[in-house]
């Protein structure tokens, strides 16, 4: 089929065609970026925390007796929690991924150097690694004689005395590129701390720029303030029961405290990403709405044109055009218009992405999105035009003899 009559017919509806091209291109630009944002947020939500998330239950306990010995209190609490049937490991810790309780220190590799590089300090009782299920890729766990109190009463001065640390692989690679971090020293406080182990992942309590999300350090420091979080590890199906029993176990021991955040780690994660889920829902709705409206526009215009051209279609049929010829005519016409929209849309998509990159910390749109977006819009266009095109194909040749 020759394209020339088709194009010359389109030029008679310049304004309408232009509007349709504009609509397709705007849709293309917005949908490409929206889908990219959805992918980004989904990736964010899927970030591995490094923990055995579906086996953990947590509770925060805040002792109200100012004079009690926190270390003894925590030890007694841990013993009681360990006795709950089904609990395989427990630890008292000061922070967890997603709980927002972030104590970050500047990490230098030489003394008395001020640095922009910060990493979260995770401190806990012996067994923290086993309880959280952290995966040690190099080195060893802490030894019993390496533990000391955090000294939270004196501005967490334990950080200046702690001998060893375990850091995440991301931090190790940032500090010591292309070499083993084991045995190297860092300065989170005033004095050097030797790295004895490297864990695969340990996400920080709240997320920042992607690169630094996994910059964490573990210290063999015992939480010794009256505010502490207990983490219990158990089989996934036992979590609900353990959740119910742990508050009782603690209150039986000493009721002079406030317990809060009794939840599974999965709940903690879900709460943390709640806004992200809302946003993904809205983005999906927006993308669906845009595609729907554009399909509506294409179908609407096509059916107007079919009605307008009934007589000329009849003439073509009378002159020997088959139903398929008519069908293909409308399909090709749609393909041309949508293609025009896609070309303009690609440029707009990149322009929009630039704006989003500067204002919303969105990375660059990968090239792959463009062909996918193009195919999607071509399919949408063909789907929307099919109905009117079939109606056009059904116009009988006898229409040629009738006036509109």
């Amino acid at each position: 089929m020759s394209l020339r009559p088709l194009i010359s017919s389109l030029t008679r509806h310049k304004l309408t065609v232009l509007l349709l091209v504009l609509q397709v291109s705007l849709t293309c630009a917005i949908v490409c970026n929206v889908v990219f944002m959805i992918a980004n947020r989904t990736a964010q939500m899927r970030q591995s925390s490094g923990l055995v998330e579906d086996e953990l239950v947590t509770i925060e306990s805040i002792g109200l007796d100012e004079n009690e010995n926190s270390l003894a209190r925590h030890a007694a609490d841990l013993a009681a929690l360990r006795n709950i049937p089904g609990v395989t490991a427990v630890a008292a810790i000061d922070a967890l991924p997603f709980n927002g309780n972030d104590w970050s220190n500047g990490i230098a590799t030489a003394p008395n150097v001020d640095t922009d590089l910060t990493a979260t300090a995770y401190d806990g009782t012996p067994g923290e690694l086993a309880t959280l299920g952290l995966h040690l890729v190099e080195g060893r766990d802490f030894l019993p004689d390496e533990y000391l109190p955090m000294d939270s009463a004196h501005d967490w001065a334990g950080i200046n005395r702690v001998p060893v640390t375990i850091i995440t692989r991301a931090l190790a690679e940032r500090l010591f590129p292309r070499q083993s971090a084991l045995g190297k020293e860092i300065y989170p406080g005033d004095n050097p701390v030797r790295i004895v182990g490297v864990v695969d992942h340990l996400l920080r309590p709240h997320l920042r720029e992607a690169a630094s999300n996994d910059y964490s350090t573990l210290f063999p420091m015992l939480p010794d303030s009256n505010d502490v979080t207990y983490v219990l590890r158990t089989a996934p199906q036992e979590r609900e029961r353990v959740l119910k029993q742990m508050a009782d176990a603690l209150n039986r021991l000493d009721g002079n405290r406030v317990l809060r955040q009794a939840q599974t780690f999965s709940q903690l994660r879900a709460d943390f990403f709640r806004r992200n889920r809302t946003m993904i829902g809205l983005l999906l709705a927006a993308a669906a709405g845009l595609l729907f409206v554009t399909a509506l526009g294409i179908a609407g215009l096509a059916s107007f044109w079919v009605q307008q051209r009934r007589r000329s279609i009849g003439i073509r049929r009378a002159l020997g055009a088959t139903r398929n010829d008519v069908l293909h005519y409308f399909q090709t016409e749609n393909f041309l218009i949508v293609s025009g929209g896609i070309v303009l849309g690609m440029l707009l998509a990149y322009a929009l992405n630039m704006v989003l990159m500067t204002h919303y910390e969105l990375p660059q749109l990968p090239f792959l999105y463009l062909p996918i977006g193009a195919v999607l819009l071509w399919l949408l266009g063909q789907g929307a035009v099919l109905g009117p095109a079939l109606r056009a194909a059904a116009v009988p040749p006898v229409m040629a003899t009738r006036a509109d």
């Binding site: 309408t16 509007l19 609509q23 001020d114 505010d227 405290r257 946003m279 409206v293």
Partner: protein, 434 residues
Amino acid sequence: MFGYYLALALRSLKRSKVLTALMILAIGLGIGASMTMITVLHVMSGDPLPGRSAQLFVPRLDALPLERSKTSKDSAPNGNLTWPDAMNLLRAHQADRQAAMVAGSAPIRPAQGSLRPFFQPGHYVTADFFPMFGAPFRAGSGWTAQDDEQRARVVVLNAELNRKLFGDTPGIGRTVRLKNTDFRVIGVLDDWYPQPTFYAQVNDRSFGKTDQFFLPLQTALDLKFDFSGNFMCWGNGSSGRTSDHCTWLQFWVQLDNPAKAQSYRQFLGDYWREQQTHGRFPRPADAQLYGLMDWLTRQQVIPSDLRLQLWLALGFLGVCMVNIVGLLLAKFLRRSGEVSVRRALGAQRRDIFLQFGIESAVIGLAGGVLGLAIAELGLWSVRQRPDGYAQLAQMDAAMLLGTFALAVCASVLAGLLPAWRACHIAPALQLKTQ
């Protein structure tokens, strides 16, 4: 003539019911989504203290060492001051009123045995806080600067906590045990929740009900109460609350006229240079003074997700508009024959324009009504979010009118181009070709 055109419009719309319905749906969805987000952002960018906000300022001093980059998120200056700086500014008395403050949360231990201890968010502030922000008292009052110096154990409760502890009568003179210390209630606020909680660090809890109690800052520091919020230190040495290289306090001043604001700026610059002679503030003097509304904008009190949602909704409306323009254009041009006849019979261009303009306006009006319903639905869904701003998402009269104005403007604008094209159809020429 208007009635006749209206009848014509309705007849024409009836002829293609499905298409008309879809056009109304498209414009309704676009308007509804946009109005939902415009309303949410409108209520969130409101003035938390109407009538007072113009006199309130945040001074910003940057005591960071030179090597800290300003761009890194972790060390970007957030307006927080160190303890010595806050105390120096407080004692300098260079503003009409000034107060230092920080957020915290403390366990409340009710005297009644039936209530278990519970945590409440509160604020540790200095005396000028209440008169400077015009906090409304239901009973009693705040404390004095002398109370601050003497570390008085007094507390101001917000109405909700007062109700929980003492019922409906203000508990003035009674005792509340916070953490491990007894405090005497000297004032009860009248459900005071400025939206956003502008005086605190801006974060995702800036909207909604927050502070339930207020204590003198020095008292809280003496008693080692727990503070919340960003606490940032640099360099070596002790990183205690009173050290001069840890920022964590918010500071507000009241300056009644621009001349005073100008001289306060001058004072801040002098303070910076004076501190430099003591070896502090290594950066070149660049003291800033931000007005309340300016400060909220700079601190991005409106979450970027919400701004993104607004742009998304407006983009959607834009596509809907282009869609309607295209459909109306095709529709009007299809009636070229009819227009030609009317023109040949003496109708003028502006008659044709009016006729089609009315037809677009009918669609716009219907879309506006639908958009209003969708916006109400959208706001309802926003209110279901557990965020602090959720309860603010209500449509007021101005927004209601705005929705209609937007709907009619949008559709009349959308109808303008097609109607203009249609009224340029030459009389009778169309008749000849048929």
